[in-house]
């Protein structure tokens, strides 16, 4: 509705689990207002969200526990509305209002 697309944001919730919450202020759930358009003018997708979270939400300096080589690090599952992101298009999935995005570190102990 607005012409000022550069300030439009998408309201989503972002969850962290399996220990990743330690990198994000020890909070498991974050309400995030994500810019609707990325720097290149394209609709915000998961790749953009990951970059945005690193730059804006992560307080811990150990970014390599979350991102490696500009992609989510191996051993982290990304769930879009509780479904594996591989079912939804992975990094290219375009974020929708009220989406819930969950990052969960896979566990190996027992």
């Amino acid at each position: 509705m607005s012409n000022q697309t550069e300030i439009d944001t998408i309201p989503i919730t972002v969850d962290f689990s399996g220990g990743l919450e330690m990198l994000f202020s020890n909070r498991r759930r974050h309400a995030v207002s994500l810019p609707a358009i990325d720097g290149a003018g394209k609709p915000a997708n998961i790749a953009f969200l990951i970059d945005y979270l690193c730059k804006n939400l992560m307080k811990d300096p150990r970014t390599d526990l979350f991102v490696l080589d500009n992609h989510i690090r191996p051993g982290i599952l990304v769930l879009i509305n509780d479904a594996d992101w591989e079912l939804e298009g992975e990094e290219a999935y375009e974020i929708q209002p009220r989406d819930n995005i969950l990052f969960v570190s896979t566990l190996h102990g027992g």
């Binding site: 969850d15 689990s17 399996g18 220990g19 498991r28 759930r29 390599d64 526990l65 490696l68 690090r73 191996p74 051993g75 982290i76 599952l77 769930l79 509780d82 479904a83 594996d84 591989e86 079912l87 969950l102 969960v104 570190s105 896979t106 566990l107 190996h108 102990g109 027992g110």
Partner: protein, 311 residues
């Protein structure tokens, strides 16, 4: 088969009576449990509670694999051991406890670490496998062998205040078959291992007893339902709601600072078998012979220094 149609003995009938009357179990389900062979790999925080409930339920043959001995620091969570059995092989200690609980099943000790060399020989003796281990290289090994031997796998893991559970390879389908929504393997769901620097073990990160306990009991619950309802037999598992060909990954998050709540348990929908999966996909070159001779190299894949490998 005679064994699937015999009567329950008086002792079996009495011992299992509260479970036999549950709708969906019945005499048929109980006999399936009695006639099944289940392998528990790992006799620690997951394996102890898992073993208690599958032994209690009357699974007829229960193999247990673990090369470790009982230590004092295990006992806050490994509830099938005891202080007087510190130093004993975990498999022997756990079987002592299980025989006290239910003397009817046959318990088969495998007091060794599972390795690429012995995994197929051990796993081939059983119908269903529970992964209760504590390291990633072993998890890939167990899954690969289960794919090749077509064994369903109930896999769980737990560290600190988190737990995870998933039923894999159930019903099992031949390696390379990718038509029509086959059940995934461990590699389909967890393609690449994390860098070693990001991995936490229970020794380093700690573990809350009830967290790993919940996951172990849940594994027993999944194993019992698979056997009692024959969900691992392909023809029985075709219904749309069985949730096995695109299984849920159950995640449990325990919070020391607030009571159990809406996000304590989440069931996440995973995909079915992947065409390009290294182990089960259509061009997979994985073989039992290869595994035995060191191909793939699991430690290298998971970047584990040789010295730190254990069960």
């Amino acid at each position: 088969q005679d064994e699937d149609n015999r009567r329950l003995t008086d002792e079996e009938f009495e011992r299992y009576s509260r479970q036999v009357i549950v709708p969906g179990v019945g005499k048929e389900g109980q006999l399936r449990l009695i006639n099944s062979r289940l392998l528990i790999i790992g006799a620690g925080g997951l394996g102890c509670p898992a073993a208690q409930y599958v032994a209690g339920a009357g699974v007829g043959t229960i193999g247990i694999v673990d090369g470790d001995v009982v230590e004092l620091s295990n006992l806050h969570r490994q509830v099938g051991h005891s202080t007087s059995r510190i130093g004993m092989k975990k498999v022997d200690s756990l079987i002592t406890h299980l025989e006290g609980l239910n003397p009817l099943p046959s318990y088969i000790p495998h007091p060794v670490h599972i390795t690429p060399q012995n995994a197929a020989d051990i796993i081939s003796q059983y119908d269903l496998v529970m992964d209760c281990t504590d390291n990633l290289a072993t998890r890939y090994l167990i899954s690969d062998v289960c794919v090749l031997l077509q064994k369903p796998l109930v896999s769980a893991a737990s560290v600190q205040k988190s737990g995870q559970l998933i039923v894999l390879n159930c019903p099992p389908t031949p390696q390379g078959l990718v038509e029509g929504n086959c059940a995934p393997c461990y590699r389909c769901c967890f393609k690449k291992p994390p860098p070693p620097s990001s991995m936490m073990s229970c020794g380093e990160a700690g573990i809350m007893g009830p967290v790993v306990g919940m996951m172990g009991v849940a594994q027993a619950g999944e194993a019992i339902k698979i056997i009692a309802s024959a969900l691992h037999l392909t023809s029985q598992s075709d219904g749309p709601d069985r949730n096995l060909r695109q299984p849920s990954l159950l995640i449990y998050t325990y919070d020391l600072e607030s009571a159990v709540g809406p996000y304590s348990f989440r069931a996440l929908k995973m995909g079915s078998r992947k065409k390009n999966c290294f182990a089960c996909g259509e061009n997979s070159t994985l073989t039992l012979e290869g595994i035995k001779s060191g191909n793939p190299n699991y430690d290298q894949f998971c970047s584990v220094p040789a010295s730190s490998r254990s069960l």
